[in-house]
């Protein structure tokens, strides 16, 4: 057998992608071609080929799989979290300068804390429009509520009031807790302190909201 010298010039992950994309499908013959090209990856390629074969049996050839029909009106928690993390990463990458120089205006304000531009009067107006207590609004502003537990309908509602996209607002909620980073100034009894984030239902119950306000928020 004329085996070539082991080569690791390509990352294993790339070779997996190549094998998965191979138009001929998965077979011993195809796998062995890849093994001959990358003998150092023989074991990993064989394992991966088995996994591919199982996946094909489960779902048919991916090429034959119809693109999924998605619900544009509904967004799951998993998607919301993934999008929040994406925006956070985008925000961080922008600050770290790890992305290419932008061709459009630099980091838009809406991916930062969307409460930042609100002065005290504007923040009070926001509290009034949302019909919540100041303490509850501060928890939103300061990211003291677990973003995984915030209902999508509530995110949409707040994003409209703040004039940002729901995804940008979720990115804010998923960020680290902050205190007093905004232009608002409140007495101590209305300002939360840094601690463990609350779930949305707990925040609703523990922020001095009326029964009616709690009922409305908890049924969103």
């Amino acid at each position: 057998m004329n085996m070539p010298t082991p080569q690791f010039t390509q990352p294993l992950a790339d070779v997996f992608y190549q094998l998965s994309l191979d138009e001929r499908g998965i077979s011993a013959e195809v796998v062995d071609e890849y093994v001959r090209s990358h003998p150092g990856y023989a074991d990993e390629l064989t394992d991966f080929a088995i996994a591919l074969a199982i996946e094909e049996l489960r779902g048919g050839r991916e090429a034959d799989v119809v693109e999924p029909v998605i619900d544009h009106a509904r967004q799951s928690a998993m998607v919301s979290v993934a999008i929040s993390r994406f925006h956070n990463r985008l925000y961080n990458a922008g600050h770290a300068g790890t992305l290419d120089k932008p061709a459009v205006p630099a980091q838009p304000a809406e991916t930062a804390n969307p409460f930042l531009p609100l002065d005290r009067a504007a923040f009070r107006q926001f509290v009034k429009q949302l019909d919540v207590s100041t303490a509850f609004a501060c928890k939103l502003r300061d990211r003291l509520i677990d973003p995984f537990t915030i209902p999508r309908a509530f995110v949409v509602l707040v994003s409209k009031l703040l004039g940002v996209t729901p995804e940008s607002l979720l990115a804010h909620f998923a960020g680290p807790m902050v205190i007093g980073a905004t232009a608002q100034h409140y007495k101590a009894d209305g300002k939360p302190s840094i601690g463990k984030s609350e779930s949305f239902p707990d925040a609703v119950r523990n922020s001095g909201l009326t029964d009616a306000q709690q009922q409305r928020l908890l049924t969103l």
Binding site: Q18, L21, S27, A51, P68, H72, Q75, A82, R89
Partner: protein, 254 residues
């Protein structure tokens, strides 16, 4: 025309997007954001539908340019398509921690857009999205349920029969009747679930045969199941016979 891809095939030739993807990208790039948003709501089969390969390209452009409007328009739809893919291919019928694995796969995919050393992998997703996403999905599955490399283990320990002549080994009768894993079997999921419960080396022998590997060969250059598993042909036949014994009730029902 969309920028050229940088990834290469196994033989060194550069990858290129399928023509239909190139055309979809060219068309999408002419749209303003409202126009793009309209097209993103279309379903496959409708005129103007944007395939996932195209969405990956648009999102790469959006991230590179930090075009928030374009990112917001594309990101939600692409992420929802990934979610649907994961629910079909990584469901809780297979994995007790499916939700965690799905989130991990989704995050891993989306983070490719930000890792300078990883970003080029998105080329694969611009060529054949489903196949590339399948590779990513398998990577997550293997991290959560790693399969032991039996050939390595047996290679270290040695196989008492491995040094014996293999060419004269006769396969057990039952092994001769190994049915290919029947693609059209109505109880396919039951067969696959039962196969998962086989001993790792037995399961591996079964799957290698399914891939088309011969149990053994006189050709010293040929990769066979016996050589991959570093055991004798007789041992492989026994393993396959064991697999068939376990799975035979399902084949009979199929």
């Amino acid at each position: 025309m969309a920028r050229l891809l940088t990834k290469h095939r196994r033989d060194g030739s550069p990858y290129a997007r399928p023509r239909s993807i190139e055309e979809a990208i060219d068309g999408a790039l002419k749209e303003d954001i409202p126009g793009l948003a309209k097209r993103l709501k279309l379903e496959k089969g409708q005129t103007g539908y944007l395939p996932s390969e195209c969405l990956v390209h648009l999102l790469r452009l959006g991230v590179g340019a930090r075009n928030l409007d374009q990112i917001d328009a594309v990101l939600v739809v692409l992420t929802k398509r990934c979610e649907a893919n994961l629910q079909a291919g990584m469901g809780d019928d297979r994995f007790p921690n499916a939700a965690e694995m799905q989130q991990e796969a989704l995050d891993e995919f989306l983070m490719l857009f930000f890792e300078p050393e990883q970003e080029a992998k998105l080329d694969f997703f611009e060529i054949r999205f489903n196949q590339a996403f399948r590779a990513l999905r398998i990577g997550v599955i293997r991290r959560h349920a790693p399969r032991p490399l039996m050939r390595s283990l047996t290679g270290v320990n040695g196989d008492a029969e491995a040094s014996q002549s293999t060419s004269d080994d006769k396969p057990p009768d039952r092994a001769l009747s190994v049915p290919a894993i029947q693609l059209d079997a109505c109880n396919r999921s039951e067969i696959l679930a039962a196969a998962e419960k086989l001993e790792p080396e037995v399961r591996e022998a079964l799957w290698l045969q399914h891939l088309g590997y011969e149990v053994e060969s006189k050709d010293p250059g040929k990769r066979t199941i016996a050589r991959i598993q570093a055991v004798s042909g007789r041992t492989v036949w026994k393993r396959i016979a064991q697999a068939v014994e376990t799975l035979s009730p399902y084949f009979q029902d199929a």
